[in-house]
Subunit: 209 residues, 2 copies
DNA sequence: CAAGGTATCTATACGGCGCTTAGATATGAA
DNA sequence: TTCATATCTAAGCGCCGTATAGATACCTTG
C-alpha cells in the first residue's frame, strides 16, 4: 500500500539466499533432526517460497552437499585444535577422539555428511586433498610420529584402518550397548580413547610389535 | 460375477500378507535400492492396497524392522559358516571378513539394518542375546582363542572395537578412496583382511605386547 | 536517465509419500 | 445360521520434491 516503511524486513531479492539456506538447514538440523530437513522446511525457515532454492541448488542433494561441506570444515578445525593441544604420538589419539566427539555432538550433521558421501561413494574432495582436512591430518600425523613415509602401502592401510575405526565408533557411540562400558571407563571420552587405542590407530613402527 | 474360476489368483484375504510384505520389501530393496522402499511400493509389489500393511505393521518403521531382522539372521548364518571353515585365531578374522562381505554384497539391506538400529540407539535384542548371533559369536570366539574371560572389561572393549571396526569398514568399503589399496592388495577381500588385522580385532593375550 | 536483458523470486500444479478413516468382504466361533 | 472379528479396499489429508510460468528487482548499455 503506502511506502510508510522505509525499510522492508525482507526485500524481494534476498541478497545471499544461497548461504541463508545453508544456515537455515543447519538450524533445522540441530533443532529437529535429519528427518525434518525437507527442502520446503528449509525454504520456510529462510522465509522464501518452496521453489526459491532451485535457483541456487540443482536439487535437494546439492543443498545437503553444501551443508555437509560446512560440517567437514568445522570437523577439520576441531581436529586440528585437538591435535595441537598435545604432543608426540598422542596427537593421533587426539585426532581420533576429536573426530568421534564431533560426530557425537553433531549427530544430525554427521549423518548428513556421511549420507552425502555414501551417495557418491567417496568422501568430498576437500577432505582428501586439502592439507588441513581431516584425512590428511591423520596421514601427516602418522608420518610425523613414527610411520615410515616410504612404506606407502602400510601408511595407507593405517590411515584407512584409523578412518574406518573412527567412523564405526562414531556411528555406534550412541548405542545403549556401550553404556555399561562407558560408565566403567569413567565417561564417554574415556571410552572413545580406549576403543581407538585398542584399534590399530597408531602406525606400527616398521614391522610389527 | 460368475464363479467360473475355481481358483482366484488372489483371494480377498491374502493368507500370509505379513511375510509376503517382508519378501516384497527385500525384492524391492535388491532391485531398486533403499530409496525406492516406500510402504506404498511394497504394497504394490505384494499386490495389495496401500493401506493393507497397516493391519500387520504399526507403521513403516515396523515393517523395516522386520526386514532388518531377516538381515541379521542371514548375517549370523553366513558368519557362522565362515568361522567354521577355519580354525584357531583365524576364526576371528573370518568372522570379520564375513561381516564386511555381507554388508558389501547386500548394501541396501545392510543400510536398512543399521538405520533401524540407529533410530532405536541399539542393536536388536537378538543380535546380542542369541548364542548364534553376530555379536555373541565374536565374543565367544575371542574367549575360545586366547582372551581371558575373567578380564571382563578387556573382553568387552575388544568386542566393541571389533564391532565398530567392522561396521566402519563395511560402510566405507564402497568408497573410491580405497580402490588403489584394494588393487595393490589383490582384491577387496584381501583389503578387508588387511584392515581388520591392522585393527585390534584380536584380543591381546593377557597384557599387551 | 531510459530501455531492456537477466537474475531472482512467487504462484501454482503434479504425482508420490505416510498415514487415517470408513466401509466392504471373508473367516470362524456360537 | 448368526454375527463378531480379522482382513482388505477406497478415498482423502497434508506433506514432500520438483517443474513451469510469470512477477519483480537489479544491472548493464546507450
Amino acid at each position: 500500500m503506502s511506502e510508510a516503511k522505509s525499510i522492508e524486513p525482507r526485500p524481494y531479492h534476498h541478497g545471499d539466499l544461497s548461504s541463508a539456506l545453508v544456515d537455515a538447514a543447519r538450524r533445522l538440523l540441530e533443532a529437529e533432526g535429519p528427518s525434518a530437513l525437507s527442502l520446503r522446511a528449509v525454504a520456510r525457515e529462510a522465509g522464501v517460497s518452496p521453489a526459491a532454492p532451485y535457483h541456487h541448488f540443482k536439487d535437494k542433494a546439492e543443498l545437503l552437499d553444501a551443508v555437509a561441506q560446512v560440517g567437514w570444515d568445522v570437523l577439520g578445525v576441531q581436529m586440528a585444535a585437538a591435535r595441537d593441544q598435545v604432543e608426540g604420538i598422542q596427537q593421533l589419539t587426539a585426532l581420533g577422539v576429536a573426530y568421534v566427539c564431533f560426530a557425537r555432538e553433531n549427530p544430525a550433521l554427521y549423518r548428513v555428511m556421511y549420507d552425502a558421501a555414501r551417495d557418491k561413494d567417496e568422501l568430498p574432495e576437500g577432505v582428501q586433498e586439502n592439507k588441513d582436512s581431516a584425512y590428511c591430518m591423520v596421514r601427516d600425523t602418522m608420518i610425523a610420529h613414527g610411520a615410515d613415509p616410504n612404506a606407502e602401502r602400510h601408511l595407507e592401510l593405517a590411515s584407512a584402518a584409523a578412518w574406518c575405526g573412527a567412523h564405526g565408533l562414531a556411528e555406534m557411540a550412541s548405542f545403549k550397548q556401550f553404556d555399561h562400558l562407558k560408565q566403567e571407563l569413567g565417561g564417554e571420552r574415556a571410552f572413545f580413547e580406549a576403543v581407538l587405542n585398542h584399534m590399530g590407530l597408531f602406525p606400527k613402527p616398521h614391522g610389527g610389535c
